[in-house]
Amino acid sequence: MAQKKFVVGCFDDEAVLFPAVKQVRTAGYKIKDVYTPFAVHGLDHALGMRETSLHTAGFIYGITGTTTAISAISWIFTKDWPLNIGGKPHFALPAWIPIIFELTVLFAAVGMVLTFCYLCQLAPGVKKHHFHKRATDDLFVMAIECTDKTNTDDLLALLKANGAVETDVQVAEEDWWFGTYDKEEALPA
């Protein structure tokens, strides 16, 4: 539960946002994140974020599903409870392929959804500070982390110079927490 100081700049246009992100980064400030109402193509690259490893996790979940299916089915049908089904061999691999496939997909899908939620810190009851409510509507909200040495006035001026429509300084919880918000904020009219 660490409170931290952030400088927040809001933009109402993607075309303005991208150069601003570049300017802020070249000036040496650390952008915590940019909150956008929709997925913006190329913003992750502009922010210098590393490639997600979600797909690697997905591959591992998929392989786990394949292994689970093969070992479970082969154990059941050859050791635990062998049945004569249409005179087929007990180890009837072609007939198992659809189930192996389905289990691969199921493990990969469920695993990836849960990993995605974990990486984004999404769960029932989890709360996070909102830098600006309109980030879910029509505003691109850039949150910049401040250190002791950060000159907020300079930073605010930089944001304004780069086309921010709204700027402010917020001291806020940087991580998630369980519970409620101190006060329910109403959307600005």
Binding site: H41, G42, E51, H55, F59, G86, G87, K88, P94, A95, I97, P98
Partner: protein, 409 residues
């Protein structure tokens, strides 16, 4: 666009390669034709004509797949492929060439009455055979000849008309109404090709040309299986030429975003091919009816066992595991390598589809097969290079070109 290299000049080494492949392959082809093709031994005849047949059908269909790619892209108004559209266009100019060879080979088989290849050519045997009698409306020489000729001519014609239309994009900038009319015209012309493609490659042609070798056997998956096989190999061939041209410093507007999408096609259609392979195999395995399993008996348990499983490994496991990663699909070396593997793999697939039915007792994959393959590769390189050099590499006034330049996956 002054800095763009628009004109492809055929490098000397490529010419040397294509001439030597044509020379070596042509020598093997002619030697095979005179020692085996025209010999009195039926086994030798079947060996030679079967080998020539699967090679020529394979190359005709993968070159036709390039036109299919252009047509469905035009129909979907896809723009991403415009920066390298000359490559599939150049490959598709081979349809009349390889189609002509295919037509000659098939007509020779029909009129030369090679009933050891097409059992249904034997009128006496058909008269005594209730199953073949039931198929006689479809499997008869007249229909075969007419439909084959019509098919190859219309593929060539509709492909030619698609390429002709696109020449407009080289001449002068288009204003909005012209570009719109161009786009509609391009969709109409691709529509003709696609409908005819559906009636031929996706249904009747594989039944006639290849499935009818096992005249008693049939599979409803067969044509789609053939289509998937040739389409994925066709995408691999496009990838190979794109990488080659990039390597020589051409196609500046094509980058690894485009390569990524081509490789996605190679990856996805390898999986699709496996899906059809499995659907065909599993149903027959499960039902276990003798007249259906006859097709797989000597492939799974007989001499073709090694090729049968090799087929699955190189056409399914290799693309699945190697092309799965995003970085692999954006890597020119890896995509080129996988393109070669995929083309070779589906060539092997065609080998077992045709020769597995013609020569059930033993596998004779050898000099004749690779020689004829070399001949077709040489001819392919020669004509594709010629077609690439005959036009600017970029259709610079194409209305979709800008969208292709800024393409981003």
């Amino acid at each position: 666009m002054a800095s763009i290299k628009e004109q492809f000049e055929i490098p000397g080494r490529l010419k040397t390669w294509s001439y030597s492949l044509i020379g070596i392959g042509g020598a093997v082809l002619l030697y095979g034709m005179f020692t085996k093709g025209f010999s009195s031994d039926e086994h030798e005849q079947v060996h030679f004509w079967g080998t020539l047949m699967y090679n020529t059908i394979f190359w005709t269909l993968i070159c036709n797949a390039a036109m299919f790619f252009l047509s469905f892209s035009a129909m979907a108004q896809a723009a991403w492929m415009q920066s390298f559209r000359r490559v599939p266009e150049a490959i598709s100019t081979l349809v009349p060439v390889f189609g002509g060879i295919t037509l000659m080979v098939l007509l020779y088989i029909i009129f030369g009455h090679k009933h050891h290849i097409y059992h249904w050519l034997d009128a006496e045997a058909v008269a005594k055979d209730p199953i073949l009698k039931g198929k006689v409306g479809f499997l008869n020489p007249t229909f075969f000849v007419i439909w084959t000729t019509l098919t190859i001519s219309l593929w060539s014609l509709f492909g030619y008309r698609m390429r002709q239309l696109n020449n407009q994009a080289d001449v002068a900038p288009m204003d909005a109404p012209t570009a719109k009319a161009f786009n509609i015209q391009s969709m109409v012309r691709s529509g003709f090709f696609l409908v005819w493609f559906g009636l031929t490659v996706a249904s009747t042609i594989p039944w006639l040309w290849m499935m009818s070798i096992d005249a008693h056997w049939y599979s409803t998956m067969y044509s789609w299986y053939t289509f998937a096989s040739t389409f994925v190999a066709g995408m691999a061939l496009i990838a190979l030429w794109v990488v080659y041209l990039k390597n020589k410093g051409y196609l500046e507007l094509t980058n690894n975003e485009h390569l990524h999408d081509i490789a996605k096609f190679m990856f996805a259609f390898s999986i699709f091919w496996t899906y059809l392979w499995f659907s065909q195999y599993m149903l027959i395995w499960y039902a276990n009816i003798p007249e259906e399993t006859v097709y797989f008996k000597h492939r799974v348990q007989g001499p073709y066992k090694a090729i049968f499983f090799l087929n699955l490994i190189i056409n399914f496991l290799a693309p699945l595991l190697i092309l799965m990663k995003r970085s692999a699909k954006r890597n020119y070396t890896l995509v080129a390598l996988m393109a070669v593997v995929i083309i070779f793999g589906h060539w092997i697939d065609f080998y077992q589809m045709v020769m597995g039915s013609l020569m059930k007792e033993h596998v004779e994959l050898g000099v004749l097969d690779f020689g004829i393959l070399a001949f077709f590769v040489g001819v392919m390189i020669f004509f594709v290079a010629k077609a690439l050099a005959s036009k600017p590499l970029i259709a610079k006034y194409h209305p979709f070109l800008k969208e292709s330049i800024i393409h981003h996956t």
